[in-house]
């Protein structure tokens, strides 16, 4: 004979089973922390590294002095920029990391508008690169110096744009 005297027990059993299965699922899915949206964090870390390297190079040694980056851009010292910048980017303890870059300078010409000129790069035969990030920095250009073609002969601010990637 079928009665309804065991309904509460049945419902309690089903609820307990559902609760246990859901808890086990939550506990097991917590261990995989890498979500698909985390792939951009390494790009942001590379961008921070580039920003920090440029900030270090753009800090003057004494008050109202000229920083190393300003000297290199004003006098077009591309080799010195290359040496310092790559040493800052690849300063890991194992010396295995290789970060490559391509630097361009953007400036405003009063008659022709926005212009750009290639500055320096560290590139090699590419085997397949990862995603590239861009870091920029305003650098003051004070004459006299070695102006790039198309630049005004006035004291101005130019934008140094560096593209960074890992290979």
């Amino acid at each position: 004979m079928v009665t309804d005297s065991g309904q509460l027990y049945t419902i309690e059993g089903i609820a307990a089973a559902i609760l246990m299965v859901t808890t086990v699922y939550l506990v097991l899915s917590t261990t995989s922390i890498f979500t698909p949206g985390d792939s951009h964090i390494s790009d942001l870390q590379l961008e921070q590294l580039g920003n920090d390297a440029l900030a270090m190079m753009d800090t003057p040694d004494h008050y109202l002095g000229q920083s190393e980056l300003e000297t290199e851009i004003t006098r077009n010292q591309t080799d010195k920029f290359n040496a310092t910048f790559t040493s800052y980017l690849n300063s890991t303890s194992t010396k295995n990391e290789k970060i490559y870059y391509n630097a361009t300078i953007f400036f405003t010409n009063s008659s022709t508008g926005l212009q750009n000129a290639k500055f320096s790069s560290y590139d090699k035969f590419r085997t397949g690169r990862e995603k590239m990030v861009r870091v920029t920095r305003f650098v003051r250009f004070d004459p006299p110096g070695t102006p790039l073609p198309g630049m005004d002969s006035r004291s101005q601010d130019v934008l140094l744009e560096v593209l960074l990637w890992r290979d």
Partner: protein, 99 residues
């Protein structure tokens, strides 16, 4: 009694599971803030008070920020204060300096 303990364990497991997602989005919002853009633009501006009266120098910042950095910059030089407006679509930053 056991049902109460089960539901409390379920709640704690849910809390730990959701916490990793929360940490990622707050870290992402911190990294998205254009701290470097704003700070080093201000460093180059404030080095010399005569910069604010040089209109072609101001034009450098406005043009280069707009063309290469996707940011609208406006620098006002009033009688006793300097106002900088910065807007890159995601973050808006306004600064007033009295001197």
């Amino acid at each position: 009694m056991s049902f109460v303990i089960c539901s409390s364990i379920f709640f704690l497991a849910l809390l730990i599971n959701e916490s990793t997602l929360v940490g990622q989005s707050t870290a992402e919002s911190v990294l998205d803030f254009p701290k470097h853009d704003i700070q080093e633009m201000k460093v180059d501006l404030y080095r010399d008070p005569a910069n604010f009266t040089n209109s072609s120098f101001m034009g450098d910042f406005v043009n280069l920020s707009r063309e290469r950095r996707n940011a609208i910059v406006r620098i006002d030089n009033n009688a006793d204060r300097v106002i900088i407006h910065y807007n890159n679509g995601v973050t808006e930053y306004n600064e007033t300096v009295l001197y």
